[in-house]
Amino acid sequence: MKNKNKTFSIERKQARWGFSFTLPCLLFFSVFSFYPIVNAFFTSLTNRMAVQRTSEFIGFDNYIYLFTKSNGGFSLMNSMRATLTFTIGTFIPMVVISLILAVFLMQLRHPKSKQFFQLAYYTPAVLSSVVAAAIWLILFDPRGLFNQFANTLTFQSGHDFLWLVNNEMLQASTMIVYFWKYIGYFVILFITGLAAIPPAIYEAATVDGSNRWKTFWRITLPLLKPTVVLVSIMAMLQCLKTFSTQYMFHQGGAARQPIDVITMNIYFTGIRNGRLGRASAMSIILFIIMLILTYFQFAVSKSDDVEY
């Protein structure tokens, strides 16, 4: 009995320390994330305009409006379509290819070449999104490098691939920029996951006569499942929150409709047009979408924890 009390006391002591360590993070989250979410929800129930001093409580009118009207020509439905197209078109290839690249990098025997590739893939992630989009705006110019490269690849000259003009090309262009910028980040996450798998398991597989292909499918991938889930959720959330690339491209003259992702619509509705109540309703809807998709992903990938 005495012993149990002692354990209980140690646990409490540890919990207290644990709590004190997480307290700054909790405070930070409460002030900079939780409070804005709650505040946005209450604002979404009003007709608040940026420049007006007063606002009225209008219940769920903003939500009803967003699902039934065109929001002055920039409907939420179009934004949901643009966001989903971008997310699906970006995060699935990003997860798959970053995994392949990570496995490829782990196979490299020479540490210097390994470091070089890691650095090369990761460098774009260090750039700010605005700078990255600005660079790609120049590259996608009809006289830019990307158009010339595409001409060389297709054995022609002077063809304008309309990177920022054609609807499909414009959407693809935003995906390319995002893919280029974030692939290195996810490669590093996968490398960390791969490095955590004990080499003894691979050695045992080799002794048992397993080839590389089989080892990857039967050992690497199952043991990497927690990292795959983490990376796919992070990548999906990042894609759902995409903004800078689309905004910069639109500022550079590209049409808004094909790439009017929800965050951009929130920005224009709230910051440019000053409709803070309506913009807050959109951000709450985006939050709910992210919550549902994350839950869905957890549910689909739900399985026992991996233990080595």
Partner: protein, 432 residues
Amino acid sequence: MKKIVVSILLILALIAPLLATGTQEVDENAPVTIEFWTHEDANRQKLEDRYIEEFTKTHPNVTVNVTRQSANKLIELVQSAFAANQGPTMFNLSIEDEYQYISAGRVAQIDYEAAGYSDAKDVINSYAPKMLEGVTLDGKVYGLPLELTNWSIFLNKKVFRDAGLDPEKDYPKTWEDMVEISRKLIIREGDILVRRGYDFRYGYYLVNNVPMVEQLGGALFSEDGKEAIVGEKAWIEFLTFMKNWGPNGENLGSPTYTAARKLFNKDNNDIAMCTTGLYQEARILNDNPDFYNSGEWMVVPYPKFKNAVKDVAGCYYGHFYMVNSDADKATQKAAWQLISYMLSHGEEYLVNVGIIQPTIELLNSETYKNMPYSDVFTGDFARGHIVYYGAASAEIQALIRTSVEAVMLQGVDPKQAYLQLKTSAQELIDEQ
């Protein structure tokens, strides 16, 4: 008894300042800090930094903190700051973005005495007719113009001659001429435009493109303001023109290319004409003095359609200095004094920055008349009108942009784009 007397005295002491506020005198020597937010302009910055330095020397109690941002960024920053009740003491924006601050009561009317006027009438009479219309509400004036700007067409004579054209005779008088001349001036490498004849100033549809619709008999709103996008035929004709101009039409220009105005000063044989204001002259001089002094550029009037039913030039817009109504009286007074001091240098602003402060005195001055091509701008002023400045002007502009992008870039049929524009704009107007 003693307690009651003390209590009454305390209550009176608390109430006294409240009762006194009505007749409170502004302490002229109390320290005042002015937060001044304005858009970037290298030429103007030099002048205004000097004016502020001179002003603070004569008003040692005043500190001025200047924040400069790009014109587009400033619109958002000012709005966000006001939303958080942290707006700057004084600022300037274009009238179509600024009017909402007047209608929402967020800016103070001019302190006439501090600004050097006797009353509202005195201010209005100091400026050319109608110039303060956009900042006058119920007989009170809420802003003073930093600049009133209209755009005409700047032309590079060398590029014209290179294409075998005589700039003095062959410059475009109509939009149809603009197409015809652009075909001759353009140089392509396959589909890619290496040199453009002219390109529009995309993004500024209210200023630059709505007049094209008006020339064809259309309008942004009906006279009673209840119907949006009036004149189906005119709007479809305008959208068809833009469709033919773009990459899915004759491929004469596109919003995705570098803005024509940015290329013009460099004189690199990549653009022949662009749309811009008198201020461009100071910028050419600043960026490329050789080109400025070569006399190889000229300014011609805003064109009109051959079948125009109305002669309308590009709209003019104003940047007005305004003062935050949340600032205390002493700060407001100091801000109006500073504005008045800066604006008392109209000729210097004109010569060094190329911006027009439309006082009667300046417009009648020899300095204005001697500015190269000022007669062209004056002529276009007379043909134009002020840009639309309603509460939803930014949203209306975004809608027009969307419809132009739809026909030019996305290949949408002009009639369909018009119908979409009309429906969305009407929805906005009905909401007001």
